[in-house]
Point group: C2
């Protein structure tokens, strides 16, 4: 990239362009925003990056992101500690938290089994899940909420084979047509899953 | 926003979301990228923000962004110092530099006249342009390359009225159909401008 704006500005544009989903044009727009905004804004962004990178860690129980040793969900006595929902990422956990319905605990795997990407069961936080099962005798149900794609399904399958022999109830979130959509835009695999999973009214 | 990931991570997501063109989802993706990447990457981004904000200044001649007192274009003796192209932003300057054809100098206004946004001629770097005209007697042509929208046209009109009495040749970049497009997708104002600006072959 030619150095049109001086080396420091070019460096900032390059750094922004390394972020996921940020192209050359957006990176340039972000850099100019930083340059035009007050000094405090640049300082706030810069220090937020360092602070988050330095303090964020995984909850010792559920592996969710947190600033402390134990995350706010595992710490909360009002949660139903008999249920653990297994998700791939903290974002998926947040998505279910937004429903404000689920009151159980979570377990974040930090990925899904994907041999193509060299990710096997050992790369995921599965042993942490097993050690919770052996130490927290209250747990009666594990809800597998990995993504409804090939990797997520394979991970759910793998986990169910691992967990069932332990005598804990293992369930999978339902597949079906999304609420609010048009049937004509739903793929046929989903339509068939919705048909097979039909329920009495 | 609920604090799903601990306060430092949430703060980082909020800071990213303040950048132009970055929504809540992209901000979250960026934050997780920073958390997952090596410490050095976070440090590089964070320090690039501060370095750019602290060192970037405007060239004392053309008002382009630079780390030094005089930008690399104004410093370059090979450039044709008889021509000044007036643009709205450093990005527009960079766009013309990429053509690798224009060899004259630039002048960056840092905006365009826009009464709706409270931007009048005094908010733009116009007096700096006039002082270049009075001190650099070599200048024979001012090319007005403000954007082809209402604000840019108004600014070009304003500047031409200001500059013509000074006896300097003042030109405006041509309007017409963009190269490589389909006529059917070009708006009618542009089509008419292209017709009126037609040239002998």
């Amino acid at each position: 990239m030619t150095n049109y704006y001086g080396s420091q500005v070019s460096r900032l544009i390059e750094e922004f362009a390394k972020l996921p989903g940020v192209g050359a044009k957006s990176a340039q727009r972000m850099a100019f925003y930083v340059l035009k905004s007050p000094q405090e804004r640049a300082l706030a962004l810069s220090s937020a990056i360092l602070a988050a990178r330095n303090t964020a860690k995984y909850c010792k129980f559920c592996q969710n992101l947190t600033d402390e040793e134990i995350c706010y969900i595992c710490k909360n006595d009002d949660r139903d500690s008999r249920m653990i929902m297994v998700v791939e990422s903290p974002q998926d956990m947040a998505a279910y938290e937004k429903t404000k319905e689920y009151r159980g605990l979570y377990h974040v795997l930090h990925g899904a089994i994907s041999p193509m990407d060299g990710i096997g069961p050992n790369e995921l936080r599965i042993k942490e899940l097993l050690s919770r099962l052996s130490s927290e005798s209250l747990i009666t149900e594990i809800i597998l909420a990995t993504n409804p794609n090939i990797e997520g399904e394979a991970t759910a399958m793998y986990l169910s084979k691992l967990l069932k022999p332990l005598g804990v109830r293992t369930t999978r979130i339902a597949h079906g047509v999304p609420v609010g959509g048009d049937l004509e835009h739903v793929d046929s695999v989903t339509l068939l899953r919705a048909l097979h999973g039909r329920q009495e009214l």
